[in-house]
Every structure is written in structure tokens, then in C-alpha cells.
């Protein structure tokens, strides 16, 4: 079984702060990490490899420094890693990104493609299903458990909804997006850390793939960011310092004035 795991390197958004003067994001000094859902996807792939035997390839689209994320994946136990990097990829929205990643998967070949459900910087959850469509293979999103049935050569996936779950079976090629709750990703292990030093992180550029320039980058992105803003509040605010009894009375008065009690 050939498994490709698609990962993204993201800023650790819990550490992002707003600069109160310029009203912009302060990204300096914010560490980059493997997106948490994607890290679970790497772990699932390695679990499948350990249980059933598989070749695990991790790919990541991004600038040259995203190689660090791929090195970490190798140190977790992945067999191969490729960085998809090219100036032509810059400015890609989810559709353009998925077009590029799908082209790389086509080039490398895979039976199973695993992605994290969504990235913590963009929170779109769109790239996985879009890759599956470009490849013309079925998708299962929101996976809470994955197992492989050797006899039937099929994946059994628990698909989570808000109010229910489904157990689904798919044979043949497919793409699965996994929830970070699916497993607790392993740490890098000492042997693989040593080993990854001797491994190459391959580079795949625009010229290496069957891609049309008009479908990627800024030009190939149907969505355009018009403006960005940090949070603004425009409420009528009244802040009072009250003892608990007066406070309770103020709350009751306010609620009855609005006919809520």
C-alpha cells in the first residue's frame, strides 16, 4: 500500500498577538509547527504501515523553510518526503493549492491519500476534498477512526458528524481527512531522528508536474482577499462596579426590561 500524507506548516495561532498600534498580526517570533490535524494523519499512516505494511510519503507545499516540517515527519517514521515549492505557487487559494497538490500525488502515485481535516491558520477544510475531486477518487472527511481490512483490501472509516457517526467502507483509491482527536501523534524517535539526517527531502517544482500555469498561483485562484481587519467592537458599553446584591438586581432589571423574565 502506498500512502501519501499531505501536510501544511502553520504558525502556532495560539501564540499570535495583535499589534495594538498597527492593528496587524504580530507573526515575528511565532513558531511554525506541523498543523495538528495533519500530524495525526502522519501518525495514522505510520500506524497502518506498522500493522499492515505500507510505504509512507509525506508531501508539503510551501516556502523552502517548510522543509523543517517534512524533516519532523521523517523523524516520526515516514519513508519519503517531498517539498512542493515554486514561486509560481505563491498566492494560491484552496482551489489552486489543491490543483498543485493533486498534480504531485499523480506524479508520485498513491493508493491512499491522508490529509488533516483542516489547518489552524486558515480553518477552511477545503483542500482535502478538492484534491480528491481533481484526482477523481472518493473522499471520506472527518475520520475519527481508520482501519484496513487486508482480506477485502478496503479501508473501514468511522466518519464523524455533529449528531451521529457512519461506518464506511471503501476499496480502491481514496482520500481521507482525519480529525486530530483520532490519535495522539507520536514524538519523533531517536533512531528516526538520526536516520532522517541521511534522507533527502525531495523538491518538486512547477516544471516537474503536469500543470497549467493559469490554474495555479494568484491567477488560478477564483477567490481574492479584498481586505483584512482585526476585531472591532462597537457596542454600547456600561461597566459598573457593584456589590453582589446590587449586581444581581441590575441583571434582573435588565432582563425584565427586555421581557426575558
Amino acid at each position: 500500500m502506498k500512502i501519501i500524507v499531505c501536510i501544511k506548516q502553520v504558525p502556532n495561532t495560539t501564540e499570535i498577538k495583535i499589534d495594538p498600534v498597527t492593528n496587524t498580526l504580530k507573526r515575528d517570533g511565532v513558531p511554525s509547527i506541523i498543523n495538528p490535524d495533519d500530524k495525526s494523519a502522519i501518525d495514522v499512516a505510520i500506524q497502518l504501515k506498522e500493522k499492515h505494511g505500507a510505504e509512507v510519503t509525506v508531501i508539503c507545499m510551501g516556502p523552502p523553510q517548510a522543509e523543517n516540517a517534512l524533516r519532523e515527519a521523517l523523524a516520526m517514521g515516514a519513508d519519503n518526503a517531498y517539498l512542493l515549492t515554486d514561486r509560481a505557487f505563491a498566492g494560491s487559494d484552496t482551489l489552486a493549492t489543491s490543483t498543485i497538490v493533486a498534480a504531485a500525488i499523480k506524479k508520485l502515485g498513491a493508493d491512499v491519500v491522508l490529509c488533516g481535516r483542516q489547518a489552524i491558520d486558515g480553518d477552511t477544510a477545503q483542500v482535502g476534498p478538492q484534491i480528491a475531486e481533481h484526482l477523481g477518487i472518493p473522499q471520506i472527511t472527518y475520520a475519527a477512526a481508520i482501519d484496513y481490512n487486508e482480506e477485502r483490501n478496503s479501508l473501514i472509516v468511522k466518519r464523524q458528524f455533529e449528531d451521529r457517526y457512519q461506518t464506511l467502507e471503501v476499496s480502491g483509491q481514496c482520500l481521507v481527512t482525519v480529525l486530530s482527536t483520532l490519535c495522539k501523534p507520536r514524538y519523533m524517535n531517536v533512531w528516526d531522528i538520526v536516520d532522517q539526517d541521511s534522507k533527502e527531502v525531495g523538491k518538486i517544482t512547477f516544471a516537474d508536474m503536469d500543470l497549467d500555469a493559469k490554474n495555479i498561483g494568484l491567477a488560478g485562484s477564483p477567490t481574492k482577499v479584498q481586505s483584512t481587519a482585526t476585531k472591532q467592537f462597537d457596542k454600547t458599553i456600561e461597566t459598573l462596579e457593584l456589590d453582589p446584591e446590587a449586581a444581581a438586581k441590575a441583571i434582573i432589571d435588565a432582563l425584565s426590561k427586555r421581557h426575558l423574565i
Binding site: T124, P222, L260
Partner: protein
């Protein structure tokens, strides 16, 4: 040329989901500006009877695909059905709820249509020409981006549940119901359903509550909050801190990684108001905050802010209510 504003009206077990009515609400609002019709997509099995409800909630046209292939939600049959409708009737705007169904279906469809999709929007506006401006949080709610899709149609968006105002029901409304049959390509149905299991909700749904009594780190004992909620005929919700501490269930969590709520009154006790929390409740109609820390960010969104001890205030509320 593409025209009209369409809503994918999600149903589960034949029940129209609340987010569908919220989307009809915003679609109606947008349609008044663009002077277009509101179209509703209703796909499923044994769902046709619900089409009239969608008319009552504001749809001028309801496109129904009622077929046993659509009995349970599976990506490919649902995509084929919606793709056929969109290709034949060419709406200009296509909205989905940002649910585990909408966020599976919409990206797959956007790639098939090769058009843009904006995820998990919290605000939608448009100009007279029908260009849609979609605002969504990014970077964990630290930043808001407004996104357009100028050269591709339909303009697609998934919209966060609980953010838009529900459409008002009006049974005197008239609308057209259009039945559509699909010529399935079953060779693409590779995913087989083995079983579907409904999970019982043990917790009251916070997104449906009229009044929420919400607790944060500043509340050491949450029991009085349940008493206050009971007296107010409300529900208890929580900030992330108490969920992480194992004190509250995740289903009660409000915020970026929890639920978005817009009750008529949101009473925040001992919640400091991290931006991720505010993202989930700031659309509430009336916000009361009780916190001992005068500089807590929650006071920036509160209509009534009270610097006082949360536990003591709750104790007094129980006595006085």
C-alpha cells in the same frame, strides 16, 4: 448568465436543519439588494413534503431531488445531485451551512465546478451587481478577511451555523416547486455505508437556548450556574478553560473551537473573554459580563458589564429570582 441566490437546505432524517433557515434569512436579505430570486435546494429521500416549509421561510423556488440514493448522506450522490441542479439552472450565489455535511459537499462541488469557495463565513454582503463579499475569521479568530470571487460563478460560501438570523415563517408566501430527476453515475459510488449510528445528545443544545448562563475560569463551582439557568429557563454554557479542566462537557463550549451562539441574553460569569471565546458569542443580542478583573476583554463586548464576584452574584440571583 448566472442569476439568483441559492441555498443548500440541509436535512437530516427528513428534518430541515436550523442552519438552512438561517441561510434563507440572509439569502432573502441579499436578494432584496440584487433583485433576484431565492432558490432552495432540497435533496434527500422522502423529503418532498418539506418543500412547502422552505417556501414559507422565503424560498421563491425549491429544487427537489427526492431519491433513495440520497437516503443517507454520502458525498458522491449528493455532489452529483447538486452539481446537476447548479449546471442546469446556474445560480449566481450558492450557500451551504458550515456543518460536517456542508464542509464535505461544498469543496468537492467547487472543484467540480472550478469556482471559488469561502469557508465558514460569519458575514455576507453584496453590491447591486450581485458581487458577494464574504467575511470570515482566520488565524484562530485573530483576523477577519473579506473575500470576493469576482470572475467565477457561482460564488460559493459555507456559513457558520448560529450566526445569521433565521428567516421568519410566513405561510401565505407563494413559491414554485421543481422536481428534478438525476441520471446517476453509480460507477462513482465507491464508498459503501455499513452503518449509521445516531449519538444521543446528553447536553441541552446551547445553540438553541434563549438565555445562556456561561461560566469561565473565574467560577470555581458551576452548580449554582445550573440553578440560575433553571430559574431563567435557560441553559448553561462554558468557556474553553472549564472544558479543558474537565468540569464542563465539550458540547457546552462556546467559541472558535466550540459553538457559535446568539441567544437573546448571554450572561458571562467569570469569563475573561479571549478572542476565540468572543468569536462564538459576540452576536448575542444582549450580553452581561460579571468579572472581578476590570480590564477583562469580555467587558469590551458586554452591554452590561459588572465588576463583581461571579459566585456571589449568582448566589444573589438564585435568592432573588
Amino acid at each position: 448568465m448566472n442569476k439568483n441566490i441559492w441555498v443548500f437546505c440541509e436535512q437530516r432524517d427528513g428534518e430541515i436543519q436550523p442552519v438552512a433557515l438561517e441561510l434563507l434569512g440572509i439569502a432573502k436579505e441579499l436578494s432584496e439588494k440584487t433583485n433576484e430570486k431565492v432558490g432552495a435546494i432540497l435533496v434527500g429521500h422522502n423529503v418532498k413534503a418539506k418543500a412547502n416549509d422552505l417556501v414559507a421561510y422565503g424560498a421563491d423556488e425549491v429544487y427537489v431531488v427526492d431519491d433513495e440514493e440520497l437516503d443517507n448522506f454520502l458525498t458522491e450522490p449528493y455532489v452529483q445531485a447538486v452539481y446537476k441542479l447548479v449546471s442546469d439552472y446556474k445560480p449566481s450565489i450558492l450557500l451551504f451551512g458550515a456543518t460536517s455535511i456542508g464542509r464535505d459537499l461544498a469543496p468537492r462541488l467547487s472543484a467540480r465546478l472550478r469556482t471559488g469557495l469561502t469557508a465558514d463565513c460569519t458575514k455576507l454582503e453584496c453590491d447591486e451587481k450581485g458581487n458577494l463579499f464574504m467575511t470570515r475569521p482566520a488565524f484562530g479568530g485573530n483576523l477577519f478577511a473579506t473575500i470576493a470571487c469576482p470572475d467565477h460563478r457561482p460564488q460559493m460560501s459555507t456559513v457558520r451555523p448560529g450566526v445569521m438570523k433565521k428567516a421568519e415563517r410566513d405561510d401565505s408566501r407563494k413559491g414554485e416547486i421543481i422536481d428534478v430527476k438525476i441520471d446517476w453515475d453509480t460507477s462513482k459510488f465507491a464508498v459503501k455505508l455499513i452503518e449509521e449510528v445516531k449519538e444521543v445528545q446528553s447536553v441541552d443544545k446551547i445553540e438553541d437556548a434563549k438565555i445562556l448562563v456561561s461560566c469561565g475560569r473565574g467560577v470555581k463551582n458551576v452548580k449554582p450556574a445550573f440553578e440560575v439557568a433553571e430559574k431563567l429557563k435557560g441553559t448553561v454554557s462554558s468557556s474553553r478553560a472549564l472544558v479543558d479542566a474537565g468540569v464542563m462537557e465539550h458540547a457546552r463550549q462556546v467559541g472558535q473551537t466550540g459553538k457559535t451562539v446568539r441567544p437573546q441574553a448571554y450572561l458571562a460569569f467569570g469569563i475573561s473573554g479571549a478572542i476565540q471565546h468572543l468569536a462564538g458569542m459576540e452576536e448575542s443580542e444582549f450580553i452581561v459580563a460579571v468579572n472581578t478583573d476590570k480590564s477583562a476583554p469580555i467587558f469590551k463586548v458586554a452591554n452590561l458589564g459588572i465588576v463583581s464576584d461571579a459566585a456571589a452574584v449568582m448566589k444573589n440571583l438564585i435568592k432573588m429570582l
